[in-house]
Symmetry: C2
Subunit: 358 residues, 2 copies
């Protein structure tokens, strides 16, 4: 019988609620496919700050590194908003990504037929959208040095960051993207700002060179400002998008909102070897934390990505995906995706409905 060690990082806000549900779903799907899990729960973000004074304790790092995959809830909240940078919950998340070297962040944005009305886009524009953003996650301006706030010769403060990509960083994320596109509809759009940024010029050059290894993938390039427009104009034109850390942050959030159901969207962050990090793309929603109102589906679907991309357990993953569709088809909806004629349920009940159909 296969056994996997999973690190659970509930984090803040609605994190604990959605993680406890996803854990049950994972266990159920695994047991039906002859797979067992040992779970270890560790603190991260604001929870870790409150407990031990840092947003990513050493113990959490080693537990995560020693496990087969990491499932994260959400981090952050008003309480820690005014903290200094090294004591912000978000800093813990960035440190975790760096510690696990998860350079490839996969963010699908899919409009399910059941939820097409949730989009603010017209039905004919939204329906059938099925794209995936491959975002570089451990480089670029998020981590580049030098960075800081210093006082210049005139006694004036200057804030600065460095956008930087080495060739091998571009190549490895591009390879993940080409391979992902190959398993999808074979179309890859690389997004950059090569008409202005030197880092983007190198990015475009490397991605273009790699295309020779993937003759079955159709590669195109787009400037980031145009991509931000095209996502609104005609999101269906996209299959797989690959881009840098900060552009990926912006475009993947825009794409997720286009689906109208951000409470549905999972993500996977993968390294070359080592455990992957799986998390819903929504935030910690402190305003509804503990009120049984959160949508657990994004975390449940992140557990499915964990099975598929993290452990290669495609069958168990499929069980979860189908169970989510099952619950939706029966008409169950949390508040964020509710519409007339459907059945409004809380976080727990939605979890139970999914569990039933796993």
């Amino acid at each position: 019988k296969k056994r996997y060690n999973i690190t659970l990082l509930p984090g803040d806000g609605i994190g604990p609620e959605v993680i406890s549900i996803a854990k049950n779903v994972l266990q159920q799907a695994g047991s039906l496919e002859g797979v067992e899990f040992s779970f270890r729960e560790m603190p991260v973000g604001g929870a870790a700050l409150d407990l031990v004074g840092v947003p990513l304790p050493e113990d959490t790092i080693s537990a995560a590194k020693d496990s087969d995959a990491v499932l994260l809830g959400a981090i952050g909240g008003y309480k820690w908003d005014k903290n200094e940078k090294h004591l912000k919950p978000e800093t813990g998340l960035l440190q975790l990504r760096a510690a696990l070297k998860v350079f490839a962040n996969l963010r699908p944005a899919t409009v399910l037929p059941q939820l097409v009305d949730a989009s603010t886009l017209k039905k004919e524009v939204a329906e059938g959208v099925d794209l995936l953003v491959v975002r570089e996650l451990t480089g670029g301006i998020y981590f580049g040095e030098p960075r800081g706030i210093k006082t210049n010769e005139n006694g004036e403060e200057v804030g600065f960051n460095t956008e930087v990509y080495a060739a091998h960083e571009i190549d490895r994320i591009a390879r993940v993207a080409f391979e992902t596109a190959r398993k999808r509809r074979g179309k890859l759009c690389s997004v950059d700002k090569a008409n202005v940024l030197d880092s983007s010029i190198l990015w475009r050059r490397r991605v273009t060179a790699l295309a020779a290894d993937y003759p079955d993938v159709e590669l195109s390039h787009m400037y980031v400002d145009n991509a931000a427009m095209q996502l609104v104009r005609d999101p269906k034109q996209f299959d797989t998008i690959v881009t840098n850390n900060v552009f990926g942050d912006i475009l993947s959030d825009e794409a997720s909102m286009i689906t109208g159901s951000i409470g549905m969207l999972p993500s996977a962050s993968l390294s070359d070897s080592g455990p992957g990090l799986f998390e819903p793309i929504h935030g910690s929603a402190p305003d509804i934390a503990g009120e049984d109102k959160a949508n657990p589906l994004a975390t449940i679907l992140s557990a499915a990505m964990l099975l598929k991309y993290g452990l290669g357990e495609e069958k168990a993953a499929k069980r979860i995906e189908d169970a989510v569709l099952g619950a939706l088809n029966k008409g169950f909806r949390t508040r964020d995706i509710y519409s007339n004629g459907t059945k409004l349920v809380g976080c727990k009940e939605m979890g139970e409905e999914v569990l039933k159909s796993v």
Copy 2:
């Protein structure tokens, strides 16, 4: 009688067509308000590259600097896409912004009742959108040093750029934004990535400090990824947005597409003193250049912004704005904003219709 010197920079693609129309409209509106213009046409972008081998000739710079305002058509085209960076049409535009020190770029995104159907957003989401992005235009990662592509110790290529803002650069764009918001609905949203970037931490701190001088303006802060989402979810929540160069590039294009009528949207780029630069936000559309299909309204409305923000000629500006609405109300539409039941016209005819009602 008041006289102004206007530098016209037709540029590339549809640029010359739309500039020649806007020129006539400007002249007409001026003459009805007792204002005269001398126009001087100069090359920029690809047109300048073909003529003299650089995208922004010295003569063009001095003509622009010596004039009271600059009206630009559009720059760029396939022909020069493979040029090296210093020989790209876009580089000419960046150099022009730097030479004129136009640090404040105002980009309105308005959904006119006549054109609400052109948006890909649902009618109830799109109607009434009336926001303005104040984008910092001469600093940040667009111009920051060091920048380049170098070979590192391992013989590997590395591409890098510097995002950098000095306190005074933040303060001056923030002041423009507060003052703009004050003249609008009194709401200012400052967009940054202060949970990750040091430059954004300084940005947020300076903007927050300045708010004391504008007690009548309601200031809020938003992370750029969230802003990209909120523009799709509920664009009506925004009045004035202020942000840095690269975030402004992305968000203003996203906002413009939300209106669905990018062929309608003008922009103004202003300096502390000196002439402003006015241009449509659309590109050079090389695919329809010379075919009398372009929408001249964005350039005509840029001429109105030139009158209002560049010369303080509010009455003449109002004439142009009303004339544009007049032509739309009569049902005239260019291809890009055409819908059933309206009258399809070419670029010239649309120009004539506007001219009639000035």
